[in-house]
Symmetry: C2
Amino acid sequence: MRTVYREKGDDGLIGSDVMRGYNDLMILSLLMEQDSYGYEISKQIRQICSDKYVMKETTLYSAFTRLEKAGYIEGYFGTETNGKQRTYYRITPEGSSYYQEKCREWQLVKEVVEKFVKE
Amino acid sequence: MRTVYREKGDDGLIGSDVMRGYNDLMILSLLMEQDSYGYEISKQIRQICSDKYVMKETTLYSAFTRLEKAGYIEGYFGTETNGKQRTYYRITPEGSSYYQEKCREWQLVKEVVEKFVKE
DNA sequence: ATAACTACTTTATCAGACGTAGTACTTCTG
DNA sequence: CAGAAGTACTACGTCTGATAAAGTAGTTAT
């Protein structure tokens, strides 16, 4: 059975291909502020982007796995006594460096892409 | 045998994941100026990006195939009598609309990503 | 009670980027 | 004049990150 994938941009105004390189940056940026967990980060991103971009659940959770493997974040269990247990993440010093590197890269991307965009 | 992939950014200052969403835009942007072919576009991109980003050959040629299938560009053979035959591409009206749409999307991406980037 | 919300996990699939390698023709250089 | 470098692609296979679909599990609102 063939899975039908959505067309670019169907789920918002910004397609996921153009944000692909920035999902890590967004997550790390929020973890720079404070430790957090999936559901909260997902809501924050949606809010900060005013629904122009919504990170899919699976994208977000697989990003956590990837970032943790890379040593950029560390997960730990929350101590809430009710509700399903949350996995909180904190950013590591390596994650912080990576974030800063990504921010510098963004400046270059802006410069470069701008040259191909008609004003 | 395991293929060893390069780390992000090894081939320049900008990694390919962050440019992934802009390869089409770059190609279409150049075809808006005039019809062109692979090798030339590749050189132009490299030059315009001052070597900060280099589009790989395979990426470029597979983009041509994809864009042609989508009806955004049309290929035709050049008439040069010496050297290997070139495939020139021209942008279609649909390609032009797509390009403009991508330019609008870029404005949104800039707005949104900026919110996650530390100044 | 049952729908909606919170908070995830698993599995499988896909598109686009990329490494490797090869074809083919031309021009430069020692 | 031979070999290297440049021009102009094509084919094949693999990888990453995003996604759909579906399920688990507990809580809160109606």
